[in-house]
Subunit: 300 residues, 2 copies
């Protein structure tokens, strides 16, 4: 009942580590100092000190905190492995949706999913309410959540949004000075694309990673938290889709590499019109691929 003492346990173990670096008989620093160093409140420091005293590892009297003996392995507190972080939860969630083709309209069972993902139900709730901002999930009047996205419509809108943002990135990129390091990065990317193109027969799986690297490089010139956040979602969904949709993978990737190369070369040549044209071409085809794969999944 009530919250876990996870925070205390990890702090106590860190305090043991601090003691291990000290000589027997020497003094531990002040509570405030310890609290600051360990990034916890003084309350935790004091409970930890009290336990050290009880274990006869230190002698605690007022501001005297004398180390009696070195802590051993047996003194450490066991920590239940920490729950997946927000980012990890995001990964788990999208992976689950795309791997099992969870259809739109499915009602999400918080209790079961939180068990499955190994996170407190509470965290999952928060995560979902974050997603509801993007209209991917919805809260029902009766309570609970339903997955409302991942329809063809969603894919279209997401792709269109991506188009708007990425075209903007291209325009901004082209107005950067010649000594900006984006140009070097683009040259490197061109080379990597050429390399992959040569060994495509054996390495065509590697494209997914390169694709993500390329798009995030282009987008990196836009310093904007809203754009960045949106792009995180976009790349996540595109990335996972490529991962699960193995249909025509090699041909698709070969075509995409050519499109990327044309786009990169146009940008390196500072050719505004050609760059926008090449970007448009690639992004539109990307959208079609995403849509087609959604329809394929439906049929399967």
């Amino acid at each position: 009942m009530a919250r876990t003492d996870e925070r205390f346990r990890s702090a106590y173990n860190r305090l043991l580590d601090i003691c291990a670096t000290m000589d027997v008989g020497s003094q531990l620093p002040a509570e405030v100092v310890l609290a600051e160093r360990m990034e916890v409140s003084r309350t935790i420091v004091r409970t930890a000190l009290q336990k050290l005293d009880e274990e006869d590892l230190i002698n605690w009297d007022g501001r005297q905190k004398t180390l009696i003996r070195r802590p051993e392995q047996k003194h450490r507190l066991t920590q239940s492995e920490s729950a997946p972080s927000g980012e990890e939860l995001e990964q788990l969630f999208f992976e689950w949706i795309l791997r099992f083709d969870v259809p739109a309209g499915t009602s999400l069972n918080i209790a079961q999913l939180s068990r499955q993902f190994g996170v407190p139900a509470h965290s999952l709730q928060e995560f979902l309410s974050g997603l509801s901002r993007f209209g991917l999930v919805e809260r029902r009047a009766k309570g609970g959540w339903i997955l409302s996205g991942f329809t063809a419509e969603f894919a279209v809108e997401l792709s269109d949004f991506r188009l708007v943002l990425e075209m903007n990135a291209v325009r901004q990129l082209l107005s950067l000075p010649d000594d900006h390091d984006i140009w070097g990065k683009l040259k490197d990317l061109a080379r990597e694309h050429e390399d992959l193109k040569k060994d495509l027969k054996t390495r065509y799986h590697d494209f997914s990673t390169l694709d993500e690297k390329f798009h995030s490089t282009v987008n990196s010139v836009v310093k904007n938290r809203f754009v960045l956040e949106a792009q995180k979602l976009i790349s996540l969904i595109f990335h996972y889709h490529y991962m699960w949709d193995k249909h025509d993978e090699r041909e698709r990737n070969a075509a995409a590499i050519e499109e990327h190369l044309e786009w990169i070369r146009a940008m390196l040549a500072h050719d505004r019109l050609h760059s926008e044209e090449a970007a448009l071409k690639h992004l539109r085809r990307s959208k079609e691929t995403l849509l087609a794969s959604l329809k394929d999944h439906k049929r399967a």
Copy 2:
């Protein structure tokens, strides 16, 4: 302790309403039918029926649910007024931030704020985790939330994002056919602007509403959930800023009206270049105004 029976109470009252429309001696429909009509589970229907039975309003035996007498006012259950909805909470939150100039870095006290807004702490948590997607608030390791946005940087990025989205809307708008009703709406807006311009001396306060109407009309041509969601946040923040920043209000509004008019006329003339130019001009000035007002507040 545990959840409220708010849902039961409102269902019970609605059931009384249904009984009121029926003749004494007639039969109530099946549980499933009632549940469906009232958009509530059968469990609630059954508990409500049981209470009706206890109150001697119906005679319930198996599938016989006979109305004995008409329900009266005294039978109705009192409902505690429902907590503000998600949208209302959003309004309350932004109003609070802008009215009291809550500075970036402030730690948000969930308990106190939820009391202040009259919502369960739980709802506020969910709301904040939604906002964290936009980087407006952040979760701290120690627990709790801090307001990290509403800096000049935030305003700049928000304005830039707005620019990208709205320029895209303009481009889409100009490619719409002549019989689309956007053109009629734009003509109406032009007239409203002219009217306000005439009576500006007395009515300059009305501009804030007209401004919102204009921008949302332009943006309405983009049918995209991501764009829409982003624009909701944008207009909210711009709207509230105009509301609290009374500095030079009349002059600012006069200038903005002229900019709007130029922009509208260019669009009505299907002049692509001029439209984009006018839009850019207005949006850039808008950004400067927002920034200036932020700096002013800092000084005050």
